[in-house]
Symmetry: C4
């Protein structure tokens, strides 16, 4: 394999939308998309593996090991609209890996008839706010208008990095519509440089996602969930920190960490 | 895709010259070539995509997203000589990527019958000058003589990096003639390390390019343009800074920037 | 070649177990697996070469040179259970290389009918202890129970990097059972950042390995061996340090070390 | 192309020996091999290009540009023994590139019937000496004995990096005999970290090479040559420094140097 999607079961979605929430600054995308997966009881239909992911296995709570990977969870909407959620515990470090993995996922989505792609990201700001605003960028002005009507403010400059950004650029190249919601966050970091998760921003992202996806989720347990997710994400942050240390010190210590 | 050129329309140029102005120190190449494209109303005929470009999408003024890419713009000269301009908002970070992208572009140019390649670059100097001088290097002594007659001073040592340099080396390997114009600049940088654009050097480059390309452009709006370009380039510098920060801190912060 | 296994002789093992002890923190895996190879007089049946290994040759005691590589040694157990030991003097630096090499080894093991994979790694801890504990992670809860009965304590979080970790994740993906033993070590480093070998931890790993592999080895010469291995590993640490310096200073000195 | 050898003319050597002197510490290999090429008037028969070389073109004294590359020069010995000299102005930065380039060169050499490979490298030492000693490592004990008889001292540990080392390891893997001569040098560096060329060590290497290759060269002009080469190498050191700065600052300044 180089980058591959292991399908766990066949599925034939209708009116498919792809929603990406991979780990990034403040974990806004990951938090909100993982929450949707959980609340909607979306079903794991595929796993994404790649030689471009960091070369680690994680030890799960039950003591079993698992490769770093992305996951695809499918939800059959009541309105006949299906949603494929892309989440995971890693992104590639190399440009080539990020492009390749995103392309493989988009290949599958296209094969399954995807008509729209959403992703969620962070917009780091110094602005003081009561409630973080949601900004957006899209593959077409028409879609931007649609999102504006829902309260997202179009940006007119900037950039979006990683899979959450690339998936839109690559979607546009294939004439698939899509948009990225960027929620304001202060991007606080711990003294050792890890981003602190921002569940408040994730909640704002969720409000927007549920609107555009036309799904209803119980927002009640979010606060509690946020705490649980906090732990899950803390674990992921630990992975990240270790991988990071590894990479930084590749020249100082054995790169052979066992 | 790995690196690919998406042709937007078929074209059959005559007596084709390829002119490269990709972003680099002081943006001399990019400024002068973008100006030519604009003034000559050269037509966008191809887009160059690559997994080797930094993994970002940029948000444009209209709120839409776009992959980082290079572009090919074609100009039909009145004298029956056509010009293909290569510009863009990115270069690859890896040697392999720079070679591959440059080769793909040269493949297309050769297929279209290219007979000469020009590129524009910066020559960073401490020398005080009123007007920056234009230096040159070429694929053959004969072409050097020709350019000397036009006022460019041949260099006898040094190196040229990135696509603006590689395209000449790879052209020579294929027996295609070409030259690089290097305009003096002080290579000033902002405190955070970004190069400051040098429109004065770009103007000198333009004077040379219009001569060798036998085209006429209104130099009048250049100063005004320079200011506008300043903004455009500032935006690109922002991209660059973000990508750079990303890369530098790959080991310190999540590489997953969203 | 990209990554290849050079088989030195054909072999048809029965009930094959793969045991990985590649160099890592404190060299616990390498020390224990090399000791087993030596004591069991396991036979060298294959060499693993890869363009992803550091680009060096080592000079051996007899003055001859050898590429960095991994090795496969086969032991025919008296109980009809065969063991293939994976050891070596290097791991790849890149994620892509680590995945690729591990996959190639697993390809061969699967072809030879492997039914279980063990690996040995370090668990760096600040805890004071008389005897280091053995922790474990596995591909299935059932195997974890089995190992718990033998005295290994399941971990419920963390990660395992490099080939010793990847081999389990990739084994699980192929529905092959496996486990990693992680022995506590303080992970002491020399002032220049090299890990100090930990033969005491290796002995603990050996005790566990001999149990699960159902082999008997004379533990007597271990202390003496440890000293000899010390020298061998010191030599390897020298390799590592040189490679490391090389990599760190790639930007400061010629990368061309001869 | 990925890595390719452009043959400039067909040649059918007899009893071929390959001699490698690529740039490295103190430039001992490059100095001695370039001197042999010049004195023996060996003929340029091939150029080695690779996407793994640093992405630069160099500007030569005549103002023309040239890709970084390795070169193959052929010398027809009077005793019916032909010699193919490998030299050049660059080595790849990546392990994958170094392996690939070395394999391509060895592929050609094997096709041409090569029976022996020599390379020259530096052995950095703190030892005070009048005349630097020549050490050696080889693919077989038999060859070591032969070289010992000529005054080279076998090493029993250490490593050899880059193409000068890999070519021996890869030769051994193909059952081709070979040896590396390592000449003592103090490995002095300039304040900015460049290695200073060591013509005295190169002279010692030359004495050994002329013996084993059974060629005679006028050692007279060596001192004068050394000075000329000094300039040539200084130019190469400039290339190296620029590439190095580039790489080091890839995260700090535009990687787009033009």
């Amino acid at each position: 394999m180089n980058s591959e999607i292991k399908l766990l079961k066949p599925f034939t979605p209708s009116k498919l939308t792809l929603v990406c929430g991979l780990p990034g600054i403040a974990y806004i995308g990951k938090l909100s998309v993982d929450y949707l997966i959980q609340q909607l009881k979306a079903e794991l239909v595929g796993e994404v593996y790649s030689v471009h992911f960091p070369p680690y296995v994680i030890i799960k709570e039950d003591g079993t090991v698992e490769l770093l990977r992305n996951e695809l969870n499918l939800f059959h909407g009541e309105d006949g609209q299906d949603i494929l959620f892309l989440s995971g515990n890693a992104q590639s470090f190399s440009p080539e890996g990020q492009y390749e993995i995103t392309e493989r996922i988009l290949d599958l989505a296209v094969e399954k008839g995807v008509s729209r792609v959403y992703s969620v990201a962070a917009l780091v700001t110094d602005r003081e706010f009561e409630t973080p605003s949601v900004f957006c960028a899209a593959t077409s002005p028409a879609l931007l208008e649609e999102l504006k009507a829902r309260g997202a403010q179009p940006l007119n400059h900037g950039m979006i990095g990683g899979e959450n950004g690339l998936i839109l650029g690559l979607a546009r190249k294939r004439s698939i519509e899509g948009a990225c919601f960027m929620v304001e966050t202060h991007g606080y970091q711990t003294p050792t440089g890890e981003y602190i998760i921002d569940p408040r921003a994730a909640k704002v992202a969720l409000n927007m996602l549920t609107q555009v996806l036309n799904v209803k989720v119980d927002m009640e347990p979010l606060e509690k969930q946020a705490i649980q997710m906090d732990e899950a994400v803390a674990k992921m942050a630990e992975i990240e920190r270790k991988v990071r240390d590894e990479m930084t010190q590749a020249g100082k210590k054995p790169s052979y960490v066992t």
